[in-house]
């Protein structure tokens, strides 16, 4: 038998809106009714601007000691918003990591929650009723399995719901990522894997993260359609997610999207990227900022003026200021909060710990320590 090719494929890269804010007419036409409307683009741009302001204010809060560590979302807003726009609020699930605030806000998470969370307050992790998201996920690479499970349940229960899960390039190195993708492929569940390839996992560049040329091709091993997208292009992100979403709803199983973007800030406020990153790279990517690109697009269509920009900036400031105020003015959590959610019903020993705030037994429960018996003598 001669050798033959057992498998052959290629990875497509999609960009619809280029770095100068120019739309590819042919690709745009292809999108047909799925092309973002002017109104959607305008709203997205506004949302992005507000989220950028949020990010910058959060950074300042950390620097002035009013908040703990914070991972900035700066530069990656188009991934979050483009994909979240393609999902249905309150119906589809967002299973995110921690760099997708814009998507979470769109789907109903009150903006002050994320600040509350990074201010070291458990209440920031509470998910309001009807909001279909999971809490921010600190351990890298473990939450995609939940997305697969959520989508699996939707399939079993014949629910019209899709799970979108976000993760970084670094996360694809963890075993759990491969298990999540494999299960999703085998079980054909309605799940969309969105890899935010922002070039870095803290100080480790993508070349040290994987020897494969794209992250998108990892999905091939799990039998799912996959595409690489310009992650700073709102249109491409939307289109790719839209397609994956349709496939998922038709019962055709999971899809993978590699969103190529860049972290315009340090990894978190505890990090100093100048130790490992070439400032030239950063500058090059600053020029590809999704906000700049979108504004150029809107301007080229006469949909945006300097006055509108000014008004939007003022609005963003006001909104974020209000959000910060809400977060900062929350009364300090009750100490008993530490205990109350451990179980539906607190075991006796935990109740004693809560009511006495002690772990010693002397003095907290005299009987238990034998003091009662002694006192009786």
């Amino acid at each position: 038998m001669p050798r033959k090719v057992a498998y052959k494929t290629q990875i497509e890269h999609l960009q619809i809106l280029d770095e100068n804010g120019k739309l590819d007419a042919k690709l745009a036409k292809e999108q047909g009714k799925h092309l973002l409307s002017d109104e959607q683009v305008q709203q997205s741009y506004e949302h992005m601007t507000i989220c950028r302001q949020y990010d910058e204010v959060a950074f300042k809060l950390q620097r002035s000691g009013r908040m703990g560590t914070f991972p900035q979302n700066k530069g990656q807003e188009a991934v979050a918003i483009g994909s979240a726009l393609a999902a249905r609020k309150g119906q589809d699930w967002l299973v995110s990591a921690y760099r997708e605030n814009a998507a979470l806000f769109m789907h109903g998470l009150p903006m002050h929650y994320v600040l509350t969370y990074w201010m070291g307050d458990e209440r920031g992790s509470k998910i309001p009723e009807g909001v279909k998201i999971t809490p921010l996920s600190v351990p890298i690479g473990t939450h995609m399995l939940h997305a697969t499970g959520i989508a699996w349940a939707a399939k079993i229960r014949k629910e019209d719901s899709v799970a979108l899960t976000y993760f970084g390039d670094g996360a694809t190195s963890e075993g759990d990522f491969h298990e999540a993708a494999n299960f999703a492929g085998v079980l054909k569940v309605p799940c969309i894997f969105i890899c935010q390839n922002n070039s870095w996992a803290i100080s480790v560049p993508r070349e040290k993260q994987t020897a494969s040329e794209t992250f998108a091709q990892k999905a091939l091993a799990y039998g799912m359609p996959t595409i690489q997208v310009d992650g700073n292009d709102l249109f491409a992100m939307y289109a790719a997610t839209r397609q994956a979403h349709e496939r998922a709803r038709k019962g055709e199983g999971p899809s993978f999207i590699e969103a190529v973007t860049y972290r315009l800030a340090d990894h978190t406020t505890a990090d100093d990227a100048s130790r490992y990153r070439d400032p030239k790279d950063l500058d090059a990517w600053k020029a590809k900022d999704p906000l700049i690109r979108l504004r150029k697009y809107l301007e080229s269509k006469d949909l945006w003026t300097d006055e509108q920009q000014e008004a939007l900036e003022a609005k963003a400031k006001a909104i974020v200021q209000e959000v910060v105020k809400t977060a900062e003015e929350m009364p300090k959590p009750d100490i008993t909060d530490i205990f109350d959610y451990t179980f539906e019903e607190l075991p006796e020993s935990l109740r004693v710990q809560r009511d006495t705030m002690r772990t010693t037994s002397l003095g907290q429960d005299p009987e238990q320590a034998g003091l009662g018996a002694r006192a009786a003598h």
């Binding site: 990074w118 351990p139 963890e174 100490i335 530490i338 935990l350 002397l362």
Partner: protein, 324 residues
């Protein structure tokens, strides 16, 4: 002799051991160019090259699983896991492979690796960055569990750990990383694994603790009346435990308070109290008391100080066993 903090002392130990033994290598996330998230491995990649100080992909099971293989085949890996909360993905490799390899192969295959992990709370970190897992790994067989509290001990214990023929979990209390300095000799010295240290001698009550809580206990001692004489013991190694030192001390004082950050239930305090009960029951003048974290999730940082066994809680427990 230089005054060093814990980070610097560990860095010095790593550098000196890599110099002395070319089988020693460091691997982990961000340990190379960045020098680790706490800068513990700062400058080492520059000095020893990318083959000996390796930035790995983001995969804890990968890091520890390959470390086991490296150790089996003649290297002396010192992997770093960024925070104790991220030991999770590597748990299987640690407890089911590293800890059991010697036993399973009747000594033919061994795993001399030292897993460095920052542990504990008190630095206002996000969730999963503040836990104290020493009891978990002490419970699993075949692992040594070390937790120094001072720069001098850290250097000596780390050298002992790297030279140890078995796997060692080397837990670094991150709250102490930069908060305390002391003189650390340049010389090659080791601190024996499995030996506790009597920090201060006393006759009335024994306080047993380790890691960052040693400093809380010291602060508690400062608040006690002068005529109270406390014997403070820093365990330094959690497993194997130095039973002799604690038993001897409690035989003398008759009273004991154990303080640790981890949750109370099935924490190391329970183990120590049992040892004391078994070995010096007739010498005890009061029930052994624990001051520990609660049996809850380590709260996000706004409430973490309520969870941690801080000085006032330790002081109160001491007063109570004295008054019993």
């Amino acid at each position: 002799m230089a005054e060093l903090n814990l980070v610097q002392a560990i860095n010095l130990a790593l550098a000196q051991e890599m110099e002395r033994d070319d089988r020693v290598m460091i691997l982990g996330e961000d340990v190379g160019l960045n020098g680790g998230v706490f800068r513990v491995t700062d400058g080492l990649q520059k000095r020893f090259g990318e083959d000996r100080v390796v930035d790995t992909p983001l995969a804890e099971s990968g890091i520890l699983g390959t470390s086991i293989g490296l150790a089996i085949n003649g290297m002396r890996p010192v992997p770093e896991i960024q925070f104790e909360g991220f030991l999770g993905p590597a748990y299987d490799q640690i407890v089911h492979h590293a800890g059991r390899m010697r036993t399973r192969t009747r000594g033919a295959v061994t795993v001399p690796m030292t897993v460095r992990v920052p542990v504990g709370g008190g630095i206002h970190a996000p969730e999963l960055h503040s836990d104290s897992p020493e009891a978990i790994y002490s419970h699993h067989v075949g692992l040594k569990v070390v937790m120094p509290s001072t720069p001098y001990d850290a250097k000596g214990l780390l050298l002992a750990a790297i030279r140890d023929p078995d796997p060692v979990m080397f837990f670094e209390p991150k709250r102490v990383y930069r908060s305390y300095k002391e003189e650390v000799p340049e010389d090659d010295y080791t601190v024996e694994i499995g030996k506790a240290k009597i920090v201060s001698e006393g006759d009335d009550v024994t306080v047993i603790t380790w890691g960052a809580t040693v400093f809380q206990a010291l602060a508690a001692l400062d608040e006690l009346p002068e005529d109270v004489s406390v014997e403070l013991i820093d365990m330094r190694t959690i497993y194997p435990m130095d039973e002799d030192t604690i038993v001897e001390s409690v035989m003398k004082t008759g009273r004991c308070v154990i303080a640790h950050e981890a949750a109370r239930t099935a924490g190391m305090g329970a183990e120590i109290a049992t040892i004391l009960q078994e070995k010096c029951f007739l010498h005890l003048e009061a029930p052994v008391q624990r001051v520990t974290g609660f049996d809850t999730v380590m709260p996000y940082y706004k409430l973490e100080n309520h969870y941690l066994p801080e000085a006032p809680r330790i002081k109160e427990a001491i007063e109570q066993v004295l008054a019993y």
